[in-house]
Structures are given as C-alpha cells and as structure tokens.
C-alpha cells in the first residue's frame, strides 16, 4: 500500500535548507566581477529637478558609471496592467525625468565596484530640486483646485469606475432605515522580511540577459522587462531564487528590475542591487489606501436591501502593475456573505504624491469585507439586534449555492451557517456575552467581534485577469523513476514544493522524497502566471493534477503494450500498472519510465520519453469563507486593547496539507491584527514619509499576538478536481473586521459606533474619556 499524502500534515521539504542557513536568496548569490548599484532617491514629495551634479561622485573610488533618467530614455515605461476604460496612464520612467513625484522615487543610479563605494558615491551626488506643493490627501487631490501631479493630464483623477447590480434606487426607496458611515482603510506597508533585490548579468556572446529577482511572477516579469528593454523575450532569463516573503509586494514589475538589466547590458558587467529597509518602506508598493462612504438600506427586521459605497482610492504618484485594479476587487466582493439584491460601488482613483498602492495580501477584498462586516454590526447596533442574528438573517442558505451575487459573481460553494455556528462554539460566544454583561457593571469593557467573510480566490479565469488566469505544470518521470514537477506558480514561503509533491506522489504512488518541485526559472519552467491571489494550489495544484493524469494515461499505453494486454485491461494503482484480471502481472512506474526513455520496444505512434504538460484554465474563481470571533478588553486608562480570545473557523475547501493551511491562517490573522491595531503609512502634508523605518512603523511581534484557536469546515469547490479553494489571504480578509467589531463593541457604552483603523491606544483612550452609559 503506497503512502497517502493528500490531506496529511507533511513536514515541508523546503525546510532543511532554510533552517540551516543554506538557502539562496538574491543577496546570497555571488558572481565574479559583481558590481553594486546604489540609488539616489527623491527626498521631496513633489519637486522639479533643476540639475544633477555627478562630478564629485564620479571621481570617487570604485565608481564605474552613474546613470540618470536621461541615460535611460530608451528604457520603456514601468508597466501597468489595469485594463480600465479611460484610465490615465502617466509615463513612469525607471529613473525620474525632470520631476519627482514621491519620496523615494529613484533619481540616480550609481554603479561601483563595492557596495560601500556605491553608497558613498550616491551620497556625493548633488540633486538640485525646486520643491513643488505636494498633494497627499486623495479627496483633496481629486478636487479641481488641486494642481495635477502629471503635466500631461488636466487633473489628478486617474479613472472612475462604477459597478452596479440590482435596483439600487428601489432598494433605498423600500428601506425602513438608511445607515451612513464614512470608513477609511489606511495605507499599509507590506514589509516582507526580505526586501527586494535584483542581480542582472549580460553575456554579449550568447546575447542573453539573466535577471535574478525576488519576485512572485518571474514569467510575467520576463515578458514586461523584455518589452521595456526592447529585448527578444527568449533572450531574457528570469530566475527567482528563494523569496523571503511577498504578500503582493513582489507581485509587480519594478523599474529597478529593468534598470539593472539596462545597466548590465551597458556596462557588460553583472550588477546587484539589494533594497535597504528604508527604500522598501518608501519605494516598494503600499497596500489599501481607500476612504469612502457607505450607505446601507435595511428593513426593520435586519434584512439588508442594498448597499452603496463611494470611494476615493489613493493610488500614489504612478501606476504599478495592478494599482488601478485593486479597488475593483472591493466592488466585486461588497456583498460579502449576504444576500444583498442591490449594490453599487463608485471608485474615483486619485493620483497623490506618494508611493503607488497595489496588491497587498487580500488586495481590495479586506476592504470589501471590512465594509460589509462593519456594516452588519452597524445594522445590529441600529436595530439593537444581536450581530449574529443580523448575519444569519442575510446569509444565503446552503442550498442556494452556486450563489449569484448582484455584482455578477457566482459563489462556487458555501455553508456560512455551519462555519458561524462552529466559530460561536469555539469562541464560547454565549459565555463571553455573559462576561461582558458582568464586566460592564464593574467598569470592565469587554467586546465581542464577529466576522463572517467570503473571499474571491484562485485568480482566476483568464477573461477576468489582465494576463491570463491559468497555471501550468509539467510532470516528468525520469528514466530512474524519479519525478520532476515544474510549476509555473512561483511560491515564496507557502510550501508548494511540498504540497505539489504531495499531489504528484500520491497520484503516482511514489515516495514524497522521490518528487522534486522546480519553480521560478524561466529557462527551465514553461510559462506560468505566478503565486498570488490565493491561486497557487487551486490553479497550479490542479495543473499538476491534470498533468499527472495525462502522464499516467500515456504510461498506461506503454504498460499495456509491454504487458501484452489491451489498453482497457490495464489499471494503475500504488505506483504499479496491473492487469485488471491478473494483478500478479504488473510493471512498476519506474520500469515503464525506463522503457519509455530507452525506447526499444514502444507501441506504434507512441512518443518516447515520459512527461506531460498541462495548462489549467479554471472556469470560475473559488470562494473560501469562514467566521472569526474575537474577544477584547479595552483599558479605559490607557486605551490599550488586550485580546482575550481569538477563534477562527475557515473553509478553504479540500486541504492538501493541514499544517500549511494552519500556518497561512495564523500569518494572515496576524497581518490583519497589524492593520487593525498598529500599522499605518503616514505621510505629512509635504509628502514626507513619517513612518519610514521599523522604529516608527510597527508590525506585530510575538508578544502582541494572542493564542489563535483554529478550526475548519470543509466545503469542496466544484471548480477544480482537487476541491481546493485557496487559503493565502483568508486570515487577512476575515480577521480585521472581527478585531475592529470587538473593539467597537467594547466601546459601545461610550456611544461608539465606528472607529477607523489603526485602533491605536490613543484613539481608543480618547473615545473612552466621556462617561460610560
């Protein structure tokens, strides 16, 4: 009996190298004659560049060349994939030309023989700026009084976008009450522990440019950088070594990636740039950054008839890859877990003198979930109902799935009541309500927060994606029977080297150790899309599954031939091809693989070798869901909030590796906790980034995090044969509203209905200064 792997908590195969310090991240790669790049970046939020004086810098020891925007005019614009109607797309140079538009914008690149020399010379470059007024507030920036940031446009409105479904007017006419609330989703800084890094090397003889980059999307990056550099795509090789976290911040094509390639080709020398943490804060994409007004039309029994949400999206100064698209995901997911017949979302995307916002873990969906889950609590508070009852009242039933939303989506499968019920039990809801009641009498302010969420994952069918929504896999059985899986997904911490091996090993009946999963090298792996949008397992894992199926089908033909049986009498189980009538008669997978490669005895028209490639195109997204419950206590004296209990029930469909799923949920919840309580990218009115280091921008530490109690329900997805849905962003999407709802609930005696994140102690303290009711 071969081992079963799918569904097991298998230890990760990538870990031994990682725990031993033997893995290779970009900065760990050394090349002969490697040169180093250091950037001079804008110190102004908005300024004209009058003059750049490199004279002193170019004479400094070790300096090889200094590049300015003028030296890179033939490098194309940093690309954006937002395919929105009437989108204003400003030219986005790899090094600033004439003007700088955000603090951290690269202005000059200094190349030197050592890192220290490059840094010294960058300091010696003198840039003469003429500061201009900066616009940092998106609502102000959108007003006609604000001067446009980009000279080629008449205003700062990059686009407007509306999504409308159902009869919104009627819903608001039929409503017993209408609740209005402004909500803000503050800008966040992703802070992957490994900053970005790029190495570029050009071989003029082979005409081959190789770029090593810490990216989530090696293939898409190759295509885009080849276009930017005017290179044939097949002359560019992108290698993604170990990636130290991405969270969406590396789901992008950055100017530095193309620029390093340009420099390597210009100098004929390999060059390296490793982002400093300060650069990472200022010049790697930010997340969220939405402010908007929500209106909820309800009946007095708690039924939600309609929702409108009108937002300003703070895009930053330029579009990065997906900048304009992020708020559209918010629109799609506004209904959340509820039957809401009428929905309208209006987005005004606004240029501001800041770093671009883009996909940060959750990417538009945490905003949607936060809005609708805060709205559910506002409804409960307005009607004096239990927030649990408001949710139950509006859930679609299990039998309603696949469920069509007013925003045009079809939720694949779900059972929201089941996960809520389990979460209430795990979180001891009733007990904590009693504790809350008792506490309030004694001046203790406990709050209970609930969030039921659904997310759109497994990005996604190609029609809905800017650059293809499929994923690819090649599975090869080598002549010795070892299995090689090449995946187009490019994992960076999620553990797909293990989970994809689990899929292949189980299907092929081989040992897990006999399977290797290769990813992240465009010269080795067939084209792929990448790891983001909780897609790797549902789309990439399915590609592996399909490729293995094809491979078995092919090998069965050869096995039948070798066993001298008709094809329909050969079965495959536990790594062996059997005669279905006489199981004694069998061949191992390895024997068939060897025969297929030495090719001495093949059936007619049989192609030698044993590999299969599959590009899996999903028919729909998947819609994981769950319910989180959180209990907090707010200290009236200091405004500090303590989390007393956190329970999460998540449903990501079928599970390949429960240990990895648990890890994803933990990490997601804690990033959410960071957003809820600590994190905020703060720019001052001149566009200076005030939270520019980890001394001023707090991310959660171990001490800030409570014990997380997890459980799952399992509702398979019909979208793929594995039944998996994806889990990478669930925690981040589901947790924020549970945390915030809990704090608002704790502060209810103070008449509080809504608080914008981050819920820092001072904010809470202020709200608790009045007399409690």
């Amino acid at each position: 009996m071969a081992q079963r792997y799918i569904g097991q908590s298998v230890k990760r195969t990538e870990d031994p190298r990682l725990v031993s310090g033997l893995a290779h991240y970009v900065d760990d790669i050394k090349l002969p004659d490697l040169h180093y790049v250091s950037f001079v970046r804008s110190i102004h939020g908005h300024a004209k560049i009058r003059r750049i004086d490199n004279s002193a810098a170019s004479k400094m020891p070790g300096v090889v060349r200094i590049f300015t925007g003028e030296d890179c005019r033939n490098v194309g614009s940093v690309p954006t994939a937002g395919a929105l109607e009437n989108l204003k797309v400003p030219h986005h140079p790899v090094l600033a030309l004439n003007k700088v538009r955000y603090v951290g914008e690269p202005v000059v690149a200094v190349v030197a023989q050592s890192l220290y020399q490059a840094r010294d010379a960058a300091d010696a470059v003198v840039v003469d700026y003429e500061p201009l007024a900066a616009v940092v507030d998106p609502i102000k920036a959108a007003s006609p009084e604000s001067k446009p940031i980009h000279d080629e446009f008449s205003d700062n409105i990059a686009y407007t976008w509306t999504l409308s479904g159902g009869d919104v007017k009627q819903a608001f006419k039929d409503a017993d009450r209408i609740i209005k609330q402004r909500m803000e989703h503050q800008r966040l800084i992703p802070v992957a522990m490994e900053p970005r890094g790029v190495i570029a090397r050009y071989f003029p003889g082979e005409k081959e440019l190789t770029i090593w980059s810490s990216t989530q999307i090696p293939h898409l990056m190759r295509t885009q950088v080849a276009i930017m550099l005017g290179l044939p795509e097949n002359r560019l090789r992108v290698v993604t070594p170990e990636v130290g976290g991405g969270f969406g911040s590396k789901l992008n094509v950055y100017g530095e990636e193309a620029l390093l390639g340009h420099i390597a080709m210009q100098l004929g020398k390999p060059v390296k740039w490793i982002e400093t943490r300060s650069e990472n804060f200022a010049a790697t994409i930010h997340g969220r950054g939405q402010v908007g007004d929500v209106e909820i039309a309800i009946k007095n029994d708690g039924q939600i008839l309609g929702i409108t949400y009108k937002i300003w999206a703070d895009l930053g100064a330029y579009h990065q890859l997906l900048t304009p698209a992020i708020p559209t995901l918010t629109g799609l997911m506004l209904p959340g877990t509820y039957r809401i017949p009428a929905i309208r979302m209006d987005v005004t995307g606004v240029f501001t003198n800041k770093m671009a916002t883009d996909a940060y873990r959750g990417a538009g969906r945490p905003e949607a979930t936060h809005v609708i889950e805060r709205a559910a609590d506002l409804v409960a508070q307005e009607l004096n109902m239990d927030p649990v009852e408001v949710r139950r009242k509006n859930f679609p039933a299990k039998k309603d799935f696949p469920y069509s939303t007013a925003t045009g989506l079809s939720y694949d499968s779900g059972n929201y009541e089941a996960s809520l019920k389990k979460a209430l039990k795990l979180g001891e809801y009733k007990k904590w309500r009693r504790e809350q009641e008792k506490g309030r009498k004694k001046g203790r302010y406990l709050g209970i927060g609930i969030s039921t969420y659904v997310e759109i994952c497994a990005m996604g069918p190609s029609p809905a994606m800017p650059a293809g929504g499929w994923e690819s896999a090649t599975v090869r059985i080598e002549p010795t029977g070892k299995v090689t899986v090449l995946t187009g997904a490019s994992p960076h911490g999620q553990g797909q080297e293990t989970s994809f091996a689990q899929i292949a090993a189980e299907m092929l009946g081989v040992d897990l150790d006999d399977v290797i999963v290769i990813h992240g090298d465009t010269a080795i792996v067939q084209y792929g899309i990448g790891t983001f949008g909780s897609r790797a397992t549902a789309v990439g894992g399915t590609a592996v599954y399909r490729a293995v199926q094809q491979l078995i089908k092919k090998a069965s033909v050869l096995a039948a031939h070798l066993l001298k049986l008709p094809k329909n009498q050969v079965a495959f189980r536990d790594g062996k091809f059997y005669s279905s009538s006489n199981p004694e008669k069998s061949l191992t997978l390895q024997e068939v693989a060897l025969a297929s490669h030495i090719a001495k005895n093949l059936p007619k028209n049989y192609e030698p070798g044993l590999s299969a490639t599959y590009f899996f195109e999903p028919k729909n997204f998947t819609f994981p869901f769950g319910a989180h419950l959180c209990v907090v206590e707010a200290d009236r004296e200091t405004g500090s909030v303590k989390i007393l209990k956190y329970a999460a029930v998540d449903d990501c469909g079928k599970v390949i590796n429960p240990l990895l799923v648990e890890g994803q949920i933990h990490g997601g919840i804690v990033q959410s906790l960071g957003q809820a309580f600590m994190e905020e990218a703060v720019y001052d009115e001149n566009g200076q980034l005030i939270t520019g280091t980890l001394m001023d921008y707090a991310i959660p530490r171990a001490m800030d995090v409570p014990w997380l109690e997890l459980d799952r329900t399992e509702t398979p997805s019909p979208v793929n044969p594995l039944g998996v849905k994806g889990v990478g962003e669930a925690g981040t999407i589901g947790a924020t509203p549970a945390l915030v709802n809990a704090v608002v609930d704790a502060l209810r005696p103070f008449g509080v209905k809504h608080i914008d994140m981050p819920l820092r102690p001072e904010k809470i303290w202020r709200l608790m200064q009045k007399e409690a009711q």
Binding site: D15, D28, G663, P700, R712
Partner: protein
C-alpha cells in the same frame, strides 16, 4: 584594520575597513550567507548571531568590535548532517514559511533555551521580541521553541527520535 575572529570554530583574519558591519563580514568575507539582513534599525533580528555565546544583532556591530571574539552563525548548529533540536523543531512544527527570519529566530531561541531550559509561552514570546516574522504569526514558532525545549530537556536519546508533527486539523 587587521582583525582576527573565530567564526563557527574557524579563525578568520582580514584587513577590514573599520566601518564594515559584522553582518557584511560574515556574508561577504566569510561567505556565510545564512545570516540575513532585514532592516537597518536593529529591530528585525534577521541578522542575529551569537557573539561569545550571546545573541546579538550583527548588523549593529562593527566587524572590528568582534575582533578576538567568537561568532557562531546558523551554519554551525547542525552537526554531522544532523539538525540541531531547535532546527528540527522548527521543521516539525512548521515554524517557518519564507524562511528569511528563521536563522535569526533560531539563534535567538538558542540563547533563550540556554538561559531558561523550560520557558513558558509568555517567556518564549518575550524572548523573541527582537525577531520579526511576517509569515507565521508566531504561533508555530512558539510551538517549535516549546517543543525544542522539551527535547533538549529530555534524555539525549529522545532527541534522536524522528517525531512526526502532530496532525493539526480537526
């Protein structure tokens, strides 16, 4: 300036600029790239190594400050191809995802378990407050350190057991 220090039991001598950071000496001169750089403000702890047996942030030390001292990095923990119990526990408990913070986290855990052989969860969380992880949410790290403590505290024979991770799904 001429310096001489022991790294993982091996003597390294070099003529370095006084401003060279210890982490760069380890990564560039000694070619030990397991020690990572995650910030520049002594907050993240990715660069944690042991200096004379004590956990320090090697990005906040000049290499010259380590002159005539002993440095231990992540590369020295596994012996004879066998992972150190802390490394083993991080593996078993899924105490890492992207792995970038892991070497520093393990080196800090190393000091923690030297000072306190059986720490409570609270003491573990306190002990690793100088190490940031953005992937795991820390829970599996806490479990890993707890489990390493139990293994290291138990008879050496128990350390050899290749325990399967507990199944976490219900």
């Amino acid at each position: 300036m001429q310096i001489s220090l022991s790294i993982n039991g091996k003597r390294h001598q070099a003529d370095v600029e006084p401003r060279l950071l210890l982490v760069h000496f380890l990564r560039e001169n000694a070619q030990l790239t397991g020690t990572h750089i995650g910030c520049e403000t002594s907050v993240c702890g990715a660069c944690t190594v042991l200096l004379d047996g004590k956990a320090v942030k090697s990005c906040t030390l000049l290499a010259v400050q380590a002159n005539n001292r002993e440095v231990t990095t992540i590369e020295a923990l596994a012996k004879d191809g066998k992972l150190h119990p802390i490394q083993q526990a991080f593996w078993e408990e899924h105490g890492l995802q992207c792995g970038y913070c892991t070497p520093g986290m393990i080196m800090t855990a190393h000091q923690l378990l030297q000072d306190n052989t059986q720490p409570t969860d609270e003491e573990i969380r306190r002990g690793i407050e100088g190490n940031l992880c953005r992937c795991t949410g820390y829970q599996h790290i806490v479990k890993a350190i707890r489990s390493a403590a139990a293994k290291m505290h138990a008879a050496p024979a128990a350390v050899k057991e290749d325990k399967q991770p507990e199944t976490v799904a219900r």
